[in-house]
Amino acid sequence: MSLHTLTVAELAAGLKARRFSSLELTLHFLGRIERLAPELNAFVTITADRALADARAADEGLARGTGGPLAGVPIAHKDIFCTDGILTTCSSKMLSNFVAPYDATVVERWRAAGTVLLGKTNMDEFAMGSSNETSFYGPVKNPWDLGRVPGGSSGGSAAAVAACLAPAASGTDTGGSIRQPAALTNLTGLKPTYGRVSRYGMVAFASSLDQAGMLTRSAEDAALLLQAMAGHDPRDSTSVEAPVPDYVAELATPLKGLRIGLLREFFDQGLDPQVGKCVREAIEVLRDAGATVREVSLPSLPLSVPTYYVVAPAECSSNLSRFDGVRFGHRCDDPRDLFDLYRRSRGEGFGAEVKRRIMTGTYVLSAGYYDAYYLKAQKVRALIAADFARAFAEVDVVLGPTSPTAAFELGAKTSDPITMYLNDIYTIGANLAGLPAISVPCGFVREGGRELPVGLQLIGSHFGESRLLSVSHQYQRLTDWHRRIAPGYE
């Protein structure tokens, strides 16, 4: 077995046992990135010098026995996390020259745990997209089929981990941006509870929905990385002061007695039958292992897409106002006056999808429309949260597909934003309700002569990450879908 196919848990153990050094490991991944990243367009910035310095420091720590829990393990960060002294672009022309002067809390914490930073991954511009095709740096390709999208917005992180260019990567999930790419690239993707992980230093898209998480090759890895990421941060007022459980220890919780709720609304006519079949087979595996399964209905859930596409653009229209060409980021040449500076800096700096959402958001917050759109959306959001709360009175987790289809072809949905938005139909609910959710590999469908991965989504109650991770881990002990690696990248 080669180094790049090992999980984070295996790498951390190997490093601690000094079976290989972090420098060796880092050079190996940097070599793969150099060779394979360009065809995938997975990275915006490769931080080779920083990686080698991190690795040497980690090796010293490992030699002294003082390294953190993830000492020497290479990782990549989505290019939405500010990294001190390193370009942080959000895959936008607007920030194509922006070197962050500080580390995001997520970056700081993973670094404190001993990780080695390989680079910053490509993404949809400002995390707005479901296919990674809105990036200023061009689309990311899916390692399972280079003609298809890896999902978005954390598409670069997904492609990098799926192609074994990094053992794990961070992501952010505002409406499914971790889980959907994980599903489309055969990865485990966890979106923690809103407030579980600090948003400080994460460039904001929609503040009430954004949550940092990770894309990994196993639930165990997600547990290890969440452990290093979670917890209260005084710099983020929305981060919660709840104790952080021992996620790794709780992975052992058995499936027996688990109460699963099947989301009726997720098995609708929009679901690709092949994808549905994979999900149903996964349910049988869980049932055989002692879980009980019942159907639950969340009647307001079908309203989640329109609700999301009011709330998220509203917040984004305000959050992105700071990109005005005055203090940082793109500034147009020779502005004539203030208005010209704003108009051209923003006109040139933002791509079409970002502009569409800023305009939508500005509209729904406008005098005379606020009540009909923004306020109504917030009410529906409360109804959706209440639906979930009712469901969790009866079941431990709710379950369904992550995405209605497997990976689609590049360009297939770019001309029709609504079709693209509907791609998030199963993932958005968890964001609106602030709930933790995970996508785990559960099979493959054949399309165009290729095998394409399918994801199973589990949604938990607030701060129920432990349960989601243990269910996923136990499922991964019974299956080996997550062990499969895209042909050509093994």
Binding site: T88, S237, S318, S366
Partner: protein, 478 residues
């Protein structure tokens, strides 16, 4: 037609916290541009606001001092607009649910009557930076030191009926925020400023007229002038058959007039919505009670006590309680003197305030301290010097920094209370002025003053006035 004016004020009081409302930057005035602005104040990508608890406690102090309701749960909202000195493209403020609502305070009108002015609300918000349009050769400079400075915006009901009432109200708030130590009240530095909403209506009409808002008035004088000018402008407009347009106007102190800044149609749509980066502001009962327990004696309470305990007039009590420092100075004088509150009041309001005003000093900068003043007044009380001589002594104390006894001793100003010495002086004056003496005795009473003056002149003003009067009267009448 007879017109009635309706005025409401929005006062912005900069809260005297050490750090900004949502970041740890310092708030000291006058630092080098952009040296007190960190990544949060600069609105960098990824940064988040964290509320300064001290600003909240200050808002609660204000609310409790004005008998207002303190919202147990209030909301921070974003007010969205583009301007270079507004780094995030939005100002964090409070919109639908402010922290303080439904307060009031009482003002004293010119005729001595009292009037209660309603305070609709007071809310917390952050200040913007400053745009500097000079010195940059056609460009503008941005100083973000002030960006994120905490403000309490205090909105009155439209209860004010004249510019004088508006100024009285603004002064009252000014006194109050300084008593509460939540704002330094420095108007030159912009720590205390206001916008005035002004409208007029025919007397007796129930509905309000269309209002204009005059922005950024930073002195009491400007408030009065700007409002009076605006009232005249509106009445002239209406009487000429015109209409008042709802708009924002700027006061130009050089030309003494207001001019249009933007009309209602041009007004920004601020697209307020709750700031998702901040949780609703929850204020626990225990916090409110601890703030209440630490409230100082408020101006009205203090003035009432001064009337009752010291026998002062409403006017005197009002003047002496206009600032906490002045009131403390006064009470120290009375305490040191062991009584004589009226004498002390006259001196603090008279000689002391005069000297302070002359040199534009604050009470705490006074060259004659409360103890020293009490020392001087004690010499009046014990007849060492007369009130007139005391003024001379005071001037010497002020300029030389010595205490009263030292000045009296050095200048030999001690009053003559020895009757025989005064009688000798009178005899000499009478001997020197036989003509005047004859006139006086033939009925020209007015010449009494002449004799007083002559004796005083000969004694260097030191003769005890009461004794002199009595002795002189006796001797002149023969």
């Amino acid at each position: 037609m007879e017109w009635e004016t309706v005025i409401g004020l929005e006062i912005h009081a900069q809260l005297a916290t050490r750090s900004k409302i949502f970041s740890g930057s310092a708030t000291v005035y006058g630092a080098e541009p952009n040296t007190q602005a960190n990544l949060v104040d600069l609105g960098y990508p990824g940064v988040l606001p964290v509320l300064n608890g001290e600003a909240v406690r200050m808002a609660v102090r204000f609310g409790l001092a004005t008998g207002a309701k303190i919202a147990r749960r209030s909301i921070f909202a974003r007010k969205n607009y583009f301007y270079p000195d507004l780094p995030k493209g939005y100002q964090i403020s409070q919109y639908e649910r402010p922290v303080v609502e439904d307060g009031s305070l009482e003002i004293v009108l010119e005729d001595g009557s009292r009037k209660t002015v309603g305070i609709t609300r007071a809310h917390l918000e952050e200040d913007a930076g400053k745009s500097l349009h000079e010195d940059f050769h056609g460009l503008s400079g941005i100083d973000l030191n002030r960006a994120g400075t905490p403000l309490l915006e205090i909105v009155s009901e439209p209860d004010l009926r004249s510019a004088k009432e508006a100024v009285a109200y603004m002064k009252k708030i000014h006194t109050l925020v300084r008593y509460l130590e939540i704002c330094d009240g420095n108007m030159q530095e912009g720590s205390f400023r206001c916008d005035a909403n002004v409208s007029v209506r025919p007397k007796g009409q129930a509905e309000f007229g269309t209002r204009a808002e005059i922005k950024n008035l930073n002195s009491f004088r400007f408030v009065e002038r700007a409002i009076n000018h605006e009232i005249d402008r509106q009445i002239e407009l209406l009487e000429g058959g015109g209409k008042v347009v709802q708009e924002t106007r700027l006061y130009d102190p050089d030309r003494g007039e207001t001019r249009s800044m933007r009309s209602k149609e041009e007004a920004n749509d601020y697209r307020y919505f709750p700031d998702p980066d901040l949780l609703p502001l929850a204020i626990a009962e225990s916090v409110i009670e601890s703030v209440r327990g630490a409230l100082p004696e408020l101006p009205d309470e203090k003035a009432a006590r001064f009337c009752a305990d010291y026998g002062l007039s409403d006017y005197g009590a009002g003047v002496l309680t206009a600032s906490r420092e002045l009131a403390e100075f006064y009470e120290t004088v009375v305490r040191r003197l062991g009584g004589q509150p009226k004498l002390a009041a006259n001196w603090v309001m008279g000689e002391l305030s005069g000297a302070l005003n002359r040199e534009n000093l604050e009470v705490r900068q006074s060259r004659v301290g409360a103890e020293a003043l009490a020392g001087l007044l004690a010499r009046i009380v014990d007849n060492t010097i007369s009130g007139k001589i005391a003024k001379e002594v005071f001037e010497a104390m002020w300029s030389e920094g010595r205490d009263a006894d030292a000045v009296i001793e050095a200048k030999g100003l001690k009053q003559i209370t020895d009757s025989s010495a005064i009688e000798r002086a009178i005899d000499e004056v009478m001997a020197k002025n036989p003509g005047q003496l004859a006139e006086y005795r033939s009925g020209k009473d007015k010449l009494f003053g002449f004799f007083v003056g002559q004796v005083m002149k000969d004694t260097g003003g030191k003769a005890n006035p009461a004794q002199l009067n009595e002795l002189l009267k006796r001797k002149l009448s023969g």
